[in-house]
C-alpha cells in the first residue's frame, strides 16, 4: 500500500508540474467541442448523434493522454529506476488509479463543455453521469494495460489508438447507447449496460494485475 501511495504521489506531482498529459487532452477536447458547436450551430442534431460525437471526443482525448503515464517512463529512461524501487503490481495499480482520477476529471470537463457549447441537457442527469463514469472506467482499464504494452514495444500514442480501438468497440457502443438514452425523455434508463461496463472493467483490471509483471519486467 505504501508503495502504491508513493508511486501515485510521484505521478501526481510530475503531472502537476509538467501538465503534459492534461494540457494535450484538454486542448484537443476544447478545440474539437468548439469546432463541432460552430459547425452544427444551424443544425438540430438527434440525441444519438450528440451521444456519438461526445464519445468520439472522449475516446480521442483518452488516446492522447492516457498512454503518457507509461511512455513518459520509457522516454525519460526512468522505467528501470521505477522497476528497482517498486513491485510491478504496485506500479500497475498506481498508474491505474492515476489514469482513473485524471480521466474522470477530464471526462467531467469534456461533458460540461459539450453540454454548454452544444446547448443540450440530459433528461436524466443521474443516468448521464453513470454512463460517462462507467464508460470512462472501462476505457481507462483497457488503455492503461495497452499503454504499458505499447510503451514497452517502443511505440507512441498513435499506435495505442490503433491497438485499442477494436477492444474498445463494445465499450464505446454500450456507452453511446447509455448516453443516448439519458438524453431521451421517452426512454427508461437501463442500468444493465452500466453493470456490463463495470464488470468488463473489473475483469480487465484483474487480468491486467495478474499479467502486468510479464509486460513490465524484461525477460
Amino acid at each position: 500500500m505504501n508503495s502504491i501511495v508513493r508511486c501515485l504521489k510521484k505521478d501526481l506531482l510530475m503531472e502537476f508540474r509538467s501538465k503534459t498529459a492534461f494540457s494535450i487532452s484538454f486542448t484537443f477536447s476544447a478545440i474539437t467541442t468548439l469546432a463541432i458547436s460552430l459547425i452544427t450551430s444551424q443544425i438540430k442534431l438527434d440525441e444519438n448523434i450528440h451521444s456519438i460525437l461526445l464519445w468520439i471526443i472522449i475516446f480521442f482525448s483518452a488516446m492522447n493522454g492516457l498512454s503518457h503515464i507509461f511512455t513518459r517512463e520509457e522516454e525519460e529512461g526512468t522505467s528501470l529506476f521505477l522497476m528497482l524501487n517498486h513491485k510491478p503490481e504496485s506500479v500497475y495499480l498506481s498508474k491505474l488509479i492515476f489514469n482513473l482520477i485524471y480521466f474522470i476529471i477530464l471526462s467531467s470537463i469534456i461533458c460540461t463543455m459539450y453540454l454548454f457549447f452544444l446547448q443540450i441537457s440530459p433528461s436524466n442527469i443521474h443516468f448521464f453521469i453513470i454512463s460517462v463514469f462507467s464508460g470512462s472506467t472501462a476505457i481507462v482499464s483497457i488503455t492503461t494495460i495497452l499503454g504499458a504494452m505499447v510503451s514497452k514495444a517502443g511505440g507512441k500514442g498513435s499506435l495505442l489508438t490503433a491497438v485499442t480501438f477494436p477492444l474498445l468497440l463494445p465499450v464505446l457502443w454500450t456507452s453511446i447507447k447509455m448516453t443516448e438514452s439519458s438524453f431521451k425523455t421517452d426512454v427508461a434508463p437501463y442500468l444493465g449496460n452500466a453493470v456490463f461496463l463495470l464488470a468488463f472493467s473489473g475483469l480487465v483490471i484483474c487480468l491486467s494485475y495478474l499479467l502486468f509483471r510479464f509486460i513490465w519486467m524484461e525477460v
Binding site: N2, K10, R17, G77, T78, L84
Partner: protein
C-alpha cells in the same frame, strides 16, 4: 541484528537473440564478500548484474538468495538489494529529496540528509535533478541504491562521471559496506577493482 545473507548463482547463462553473453557462471557470496566483474565492452557485465538482481531471468541456471537461511522469492530480491548503474535514471522533474522519498520504503529524513551530506549534495536537495551535472546525478544514484540499507549492493560502473572528491567518498563508503554486506561491482577501473577481494572476468 545483522542478517545472514547468501547469494548463490548456479551455472547461470544468458543468451540474447542467439548470441551467448556468458555461460555456466557459478558463485556463492556471503556477508563480507566483495567481487568485481570485469570484461570488455559488450561482454555482458550489466546483464550479469541484472540477472543476479532478479531483474531479468537467466537463459539457464538459477539465482538463489537466502536471508537468515530462508529463501527469498526472486520477485522480492529488490527488497534486499541496492542496485545502480548508468541506466538507472532518477526523475529529472523531481528534486533530489523527492527522488529519495520515492525510493525509500520507510522515509527517514535524518538518514536522507545524512547521506546527502556525505555525498556533498545537501545544498542541492531541493534542486530538480534535470539541473544536476552528470557527476551529481551519479552521486544521487549511489545514495538511492544505499538508502534502504540493503544487504547486497550491486553497482555498475559506480565511479562514472565522479570527480576525485566524489570517488574518494564512494570508495570510503564501499570499504565500510563490504565488511558487513555483499558488494558486487561491474567495472574496468583499477581503483574500483581493488576495493573487491575477488574478481570475475567475463570473456
Amino acid at each position: 541484528m545483522k542478517n545472514n545473507t547468501e547469494l548463490t548463482c548456479n551455472k547461470i547463462s544468458k543468451k540474447y537473440t542467439g548470441r551467448r553473453l556468458f555461460k555456466d557462471i557459478s558463485l556463492k557470496l556471503v556477508n563480507g564478500n566483495s567481487i568485481s566483474v570485469t570484461g570488455e565492452n559488450g561482454s555482458g557485465k550489466t546483464t550479469f548484474l541484472k540477472v543476479i538482481s532478479g531483474l531479468i531471468q537467466p537463459s539457464s541456471g538459477d539465482v538463489q538468495l537466502l536471508r537468515n537461511n530462508n529463501p527469498v522469492n526472486i520477485t522480492n530480491f529488490n527488497d534486499y538489494i541496492g542496485f545502480t548503474g548508468p541506466a538507472v535514471n532518477p526523475y529529472p522533474i523531481l528534486n533530489a529529496m523527492e527522488n529519495i522519498k520515492f525510493s525509500m520504503k520507510n522515509f527517514s529524513e535524518e538518514k536522507s540528509l545524512n547521506l546527502l551530506e556525505k555525498f556533498n549534495l545537501i545544498e542541492h536537495k531541493n534542486k530538480p535533478v534535470k539541473l544536476f551535472s552528470s557527476g551529481m546525478v551519479q552521486r544521487l544514484r549511489i545514495i538511492i541504491a544505499m538508502i534502504n540499507s540493503p544487504d547486497i549492493l550491486i553497482l555498475d560502473e559506480p565511479g562514472t562521471n565522479l570527480d576525485s572528491k566524489g570517488k574518494d567518498i564512494l570508495y570510503s563508503i564501499l570499504h565500510d559496506f563490504k565488511n558487513n554486506g555483499i558488494l558486487v561491482i561491474a567495472t574496468n577501473d583499477i581503483e574500483e577493482k581493488k576495493i573487491c577481494s575477488e574478481n570475475l572476468e567475463l570473456a
